[in-house]
Subunit: 545 residues, 2 copies
């Protein structure tokens, strides 16, 4: 066992692109947003959009009052009160957040933004907030698309946004044991920068990777972009440190344990309502060196689903197994003849993967698929060449920026995801397409695009991911989306498909979540909430209460 | 997606070996216990054992009084009160249970044994028990080795053992979706019998398989005998139905969900303290057709650990990767020269596995291992031939019976397991061997055998499984074991190794569990317990209270 006890303490503070500015109202970097000309070009593709883009909103046009509370003197150095910081922490990055910001109606702006630097300061802030009826909204990268980081409709005396990004370091790496202790506020790129010198990776790449944090991933049970195998953040957790109003706890660092219900699993997905995750030991992987990918086209979506199921039920474990329906494939430039396209990718740190790829392609062929060299290199697919991979990655990361450009053109542009067992998948997808499309036509007077791709597949089911592009109603886009989302929620409920596969519940999904959750679990969760957060200040309105 | 919605309703009631009788005091079938001559032969191998075996105990020698309560008339047809049934439900099958039974001192014998036939009857029984302060101890196959199915030291008016085995059917099979709905009381063989016609298997084979139930596996987070990959019952769960005193709930059948903390994970491992699991949808697998295995010998245990770590960190995913230390290998007949032996096995339903086996053997060789044709076929290893596999399986399943034979000879014979990260594994194993060995010598005056094998391996750690064979103290074996277990518990705690990897907490592991569990989680669990079981009648003393 030589060497397994060697650990490296990492003290470097990584700061990801410190010279760029985050957008307070839209996705990502302020300088990466599409300009007016790009917005117009995109708007021209969709019926019913505006003649010119809505202007980029300015903080100074918002009426942001003085904070309703003063921070305590002992913690004042951690707290910001300037309007720009407060506005940037008012909401997440869902369509309904962006459109509200564009119309100068952000959610309730927090009174204070605190940036603690360690767990003790988090505990002090929670103590102070509990004593004074101040709501605390934990905030990582602020990329929630389900209303997870705003304050909505409560009666607390004030609101504090608890920004964890000053706790962003990789603290310790156990390279032989393939694990690292990382602070919750670490953004994806900083975290990977800290692991790279050890030849290791967390290999967790949600679409929000650049702007979201480990703590956010853990609190929302994030899914990475790999289609099978180790892709859910839940499975990477060795140990969590959680600060609650009732005390702080750290679970033991264990590869597995059967000692009672998993303590970590109660806090994974708790969305800041039970406590604040401040650090975690996470499992790492070696960087893959063997890669292979291919695209397969299908004339019918049903045959493509059968092929995907066969691959998901094999022992091949593709890293990517992303099925795009015809409309999604066309949008991605991967198909122009009405074919659905399946993108397959394999990765390994150990051994060549070409044979696994061939076996997967053979399974696809057995269900009527045809290997498609055109789709292979399209920007909407990972492709087989390094250039194509880079193009795909770039397009994938660019999508949320384009979404914001469409919103400036008055369009409704949003996504939602679910998961269901295989027997329910075909009708579920069809019903979402039909019923959300009909609702959009009725709400806006224009036909909408409702695309579907499968992002994650399992032996027993799949995760369909829907993109909705619709005309808006001038000044009323959030209401249109709420109507469409309600229709979508009914379809999901009817098919017993989860209200969220990897975007969390937040506030937007509460109606669906409350219907989905078994009542005894709801009782247990409410009791746990009351025990850990007796004053009810932690992320009020999320999950319980 | 042709065919994916086809399901088969299975109405057949399977009854596993109805003509044989379960032992009320020891493992398994009464007719499979070693006879006196076998006991004597085993006793001769261990110093300090008795001159003749303790007699097989008889129920009629126990003083079992009348039940302290009468069952309600409406449920009386579900309830047994005869002394044999009550004695058989008094305890699990740990060493300390067997030795107490042999000395005519079983734990508190339940007043009533109820066998509900559906969830509604379970709910009725819980209602009745809550109103009358009757403790309810859920009971599946009764194979707990941690005091999980007895009543100990409480003040309830009476005790009801809730035997789930009348709910033992496979209710529904979704073959295209690879899942089945199964009642919690289904014993391993019955469950597999129900799946076999569909070409599917749950592929969950704990050593107790023949005598334990799906519900017991779920409530205790059981581990199967596969070393890596899908081996924990937790990962097979699509949906659970749980009956609690506060109501009944069924989680949706989903391949994955990010909607809040997992409701199922709160009940997995809850050991009957939060509710009674009555049925589950579980994920199935095709039966493997490609198999290959090999044994590799190592001169040093440290080198063997390094080899195992390398294999566990590869993407090979062996079905078996069982490392026996020199003493364990000798006991299993797999080594006679002081070598440690690593048994590797691969299985797949899809593709040949010979190349994966060769890559694993190569990794073992790179750490000094030598492929060992002798060990390959030894009864203590799975072996490469069908005969050797059958011999290994037979020996594996026979072990608990032999344990009981040794106990009749006055010996202390018990096992315990744990898990730890790789950096802690070598010293942990060494300290358990040294300190438990020294404690046994001090307690009994005779040297003891303390063997170790790794049963499960992970990229970030391993699960060592220890066997302790020691002389007893006449009439006082349980106390000797309690002393040894306390020493072992201290070693585990010092190394932050879990108090249990797959045997659950029960009552025996409470001290270790209470020290291991993070305090905020303990608060949450107590609150959940109070909400779901307000009268505190469910398995009192387990996990909380």
């Amino acid at each position: 066992m030589t060497g397994t006890t060697r650990k490296t303490r990492t003290t470097r503070t990584t700061t990801h692109s410190p010279s760029r500015t985050r957008s307070w109202w839209g996705w990502g970097w302020a300088d990466a947003h599409p300009d007016d000309a790009e917005c117009l070009a995109m708007g021209a593709l969709l019926p019913g959009t505006l003649a010119r883009p809505l202007p980029v909103p300015r903080v100074r046009d918002l009426r942001i009052g003085r904070p309703a509370v003063e921070p305590p003197a002992s913690l004042a150095h951690l707290v910001a009160t300037d309007p720009g910081d407060r506005a940037a922490h008012a909401m997440g990055k869902a369509y309904r957040d962006v459109v509200r910001a564009l119309h100068g109606r952000p959610g309730r702006v927090p009174d204070l933004v605190a940036r603690p630097t360690d767990g003790g300061e988090v505990a002090d802030l929670l103590d102070w907030a509990g004593d004074r009826d101040v709501a605390v909204v934990p905030y990582g990268g602020g990329t929630s698309v389900t209303g997870g980081v705003e304050y909505r409709g409560g009666t607390h005396r004030a609101v504090l946004s608890l920004d964890l990004t000053a706790m962003g370091r990789v603290l310790e790496v156990d390279a032989p044991g393939r694990a690292a202790r990382i602070q919750a506020g670490a953004l994806g790129p900083d975290l990977e920068d800290g692991l790279r010198p050890h030849g290791l990776t967390l290999r967790h790449f949600p679409q929000s990777f650049e702007f979201s944090t480990l703590g956010g991933w853990l609190a929302t049970r994030a899914g990475g972009h790999y289609a099978t195998g180790r892709t859910h953040i839940d499975d990477f957790v060795q140990s969590l440190t959680v600060v609650t109003p009732a005390g702080t706890g750290t679970s033991w660092r264990l590869p597995a344990s059967g000692a009672g219900p998993s303590p970590d699993r109660l806090f994974l997905g708790s969305e800041g309502a039970l406590g604040v995750i401040t650090e975690a030991w996470v499992r790492l992987q070696p960087r893959p060196v063997h890669k292979a990918s291919a695209a397969v086209a299908f004339t019918g979506f049903g045959a493509a689903l059968d092929a995907v199921r066969a691959i998901a039920q094999s022992d091949l474990a593709p890293a990517n197994c992303r099925l795009l329906d015809a409309s999604e494939a066309a949008l991605a430039g991967a198909s122009h003849d009405g074919s659905a396209v399946l993108v397959l990718g394999f990765e390994s740190a150990d051994a060549p993967v070409a044979d696994r790829l061939e076996r997967a392609v053979d399974l696809a062929r057995a269900h009527g698929g045809r290997r498609d060299p055109v789709a292979d290199g399209a920007p909407g697919t990972p492709g087989t060449s390094d250039t194509a991979v880079a193009a795909w990655r770039s397009a994938f990361l660019r999508m949320p920026y384009l979404r914001d450009g469409l919103v400036r053109m008055g369009a409704v542009a949003e996504t939602f995801e679910t998961a269901a067992t295989w027997d329910r998948v075909p009708a579920l997808i069809e019903d979402v397409r039909t019923e959300v499309g009909a609702a959009a036509l009725q709400a806006t007077g224009y036909p909408a695009t409702v695309n579907c791709r499968l992002t994650h597949v399992y032996p027993d089911g799949a995760a369909p991911y829907f993109t909705v592009l619709a005309a808006g109603r001038p000044g009323d886009g959030a209401a249109v989306w709420d109507e469409l989302k309600a229709v979508a929620g009914e379809v999901l409920h009817r098919h017993r498909a989860t209200i969220t596969h990897h975007h969390a519940v937040g506030r937007d999904h509460r109606p669906g979540y409350d219907r989905q959750r078994p009542e005894p679990f709801a009782l247990a969760l409410r009791a746990a909430k009351h025990a850990l957060d007796p004053h009810g200040v932690l992320n009020p309105g999320v999950l319980v209460g």
